[in-house]
Amino acid sequence: MATKPVPIPDETSAPFFDGARNGRLMLQYCSACARWSFPVRERCPHCFSAALEWRQASGRGSLYTFTIMHQVMNPGFASAVPYNIAQIDLAEGVRMTSNIVDAPNDALLIGMPLEAVFEEVGENVCLPKFRPVAG
């Protein structure tokens, strides 16, 4: 059976994937304007400063919107449909796309509070996913 695609960490994304492997959601934080950003960048998208550093984010957020995928676009997802894809508004002001786990698709509600969990998807590769938490 085909497996789901596994990202291949590279030099610029290593802090993100290293963090995920250790159960931490790592994002870039700008020490010049005190705002966060995602995905990885050379300069802050807000103030364009180069003073970006990786910091652990809270992993807390809420469900901004989601879809339930029925179409199989990749053989690795053939047995996964229907599966959800969600945009999560993180407490840090960053909007991430991920999957919601530990909840059936019909329990997803826009605005529901979520927290990051980390799932091993390949050898030494973990991904942040999100699960509902009590409001």
Binding site: P5, D10, T12, S13, Y64
Partner: protein, 390 residues
């Protein structure tokens, strides 16, 4: 002066589109350009500018000029702002002509992503399109392939905020299918009811199969020249009265709401001001319709109805034949043909000339064209008219 024409469209060529196999994109491009030259009453040797819309596979590159047999061009480029590129190309062509860099500029979009073994979904979102290195690999890892899930999430957000329904999206699809039945160029001819729309399978909830555009092999070419020169050519000139782009940018921040406000708002305001007309002067809209939802949010952002009221606005069928705001009168990308921004642009030329036959709208003085690219990251607006001023 504010409302003098920026340029004019003198020729239009649209090839047969759809599941036509065995030809390369550049082959379709050659046919579309030949049709457009014939339409305008021009020869290939009259062409001194070529702007190519970059397509997704990337095979329509600058070297296409050789395959197309152009010589001594004084203007050439490949342009890419995804689906919105048609509007940017129109801007650059008109500016170049007014600056004297070229006199007759061909704009072309051509694509052949479909094959006997690769269908619509796979052509745009198959594994060959998704790199795995670094953070780019996250999309595939989360199963987020192509545009379908991204637009589905935007549509869901709109439904959540405003109570928009799948039946309201369906009204757009049904109206456009009715238009397609009147167009000899349209691919989809079978009658569609709202029940058909509701019975169509989910692709990415809340979007159903009949909310999603086609994918087509084929090409469209448009010939742009000065308004003065266009008056002496074969076809009634279609003047370009206004145009603008707006690229809203990255949407991965919690203070941005691309599902709620798109680049149509700002680019529309600029284009209307440039044309010297108001929204009420528009007799027909040709709007980028990668999804039914895109039509709805674009109508809101151009101000045809208040923000959030797009659902009730379209539900009465006013976009379809005999409706108060005839929109996507060739069937659009949903039922006509999918040539990115050249779908709305080509139909706008037909309507502005008054050559729509069974689908011709009665009020064709001013035609609004929108093009949208990426995941609501790019937008362009063009206002066309058979009149030389607003």
């Amino acid at each position: 002066m504010a409302n003098q024409p920026k340029g004019a469209i003198a020729g239009l060529g649209v090839t047969p589109t759809g599941k036509i196999y065995g030809r390369r994109a550049v082959d379709f491009a050659a046919e579309a350009i030949a049709l457009a030259l014939e339409d305008a009453g021009l020869n290939k040797s009259d062409v001194d500018g070529l702007l190519i819309n970059a397509n997704l596979p990337g095979d329509m590159d600058a070297r296409s000029q050789m395959a197309l047999g152009f010589e001594n061009l004084t203007l050439i480029n490949v342009m890419s702002a995804y689906g919105s590129t048609a509007g940017s190309m129109m801007q650059y062509a008109c500016m170049a002509i007014r600056e004297g860099l070229a006199n007759v500029v061909v704009l072309v979009y051509a694509d052949a992503p479909l094959s006997a073994t690769r269908g619509a979904g796979q052509s745009y979102a198959g594994p060959h399109r998704f790199p795995l290195a670094g953070m780019n690999g996250l999309r595939a890892a989360y199963g987020n392939f192509g545009a379908n899930p991204e637009y589905a999430m935007a549509a869901r957000r709109h439904m959540h905020l405003y109570g928009t329904t799948t039946e309201q999206f369906g009204a757009i699809a049904v109206g456009q299918r009715a238009w397609a039945q009147l167009s000899p160029w349209a691919q989809m001819k079978q009658t569609m009811t709202l029940a058909d729309h509701q019975a169509s399978r989910f692709i990415a909830e809340p979007l159903r199969l009949l909310d999603c555009c086609l994918v087509s092999n084929g090409a469209v070419a448009v010939i742009v020249t000065s308004a003065e020169r266009a008056r002496d050519l074969r076809q009634p000139p279609v003047n370009v009265l206004g145009y603008a782009q707006c690229a809203p940018g990255d949407n991965l921040q919690t203070d941005r709401h691309p599902a709620v406000e798109t680049g149509a708002k700002r680019s529309g305001e600029i284009a209307f001001r440039m044309a010297g007309i108001s929204r009420d002067d528009i007799g027909t809209c040709q709007l980028y319709d990668c999804y039914t939802y895109t039509v709805l949010v674009t109508l809101e952002d151009y101000g045809f109805c208040a923000k959030g009221e797009g659902g009730p606005f379209v539900a009465d069928g006013k976009l379809g034949p005999d409706g108060a705001l005839p929109t996507n009168t060739g069937g659009g990308q949903l039922s006509g043909y999918y040539m990115w921004g050249f779908t709305p642009l080509s139909e706008a030329v037909v309507q502005a000339r008054g050559q729509g036959g069974a689908r011709q709208v009665p009020r064709n003085d001013y035609v609004l064209v929108s093009a949208n690219g990426g995941i609501l990251n790019f937008h362009s607006t063009i206002i066309l008219s058979r009149h030389a001023s607003g």
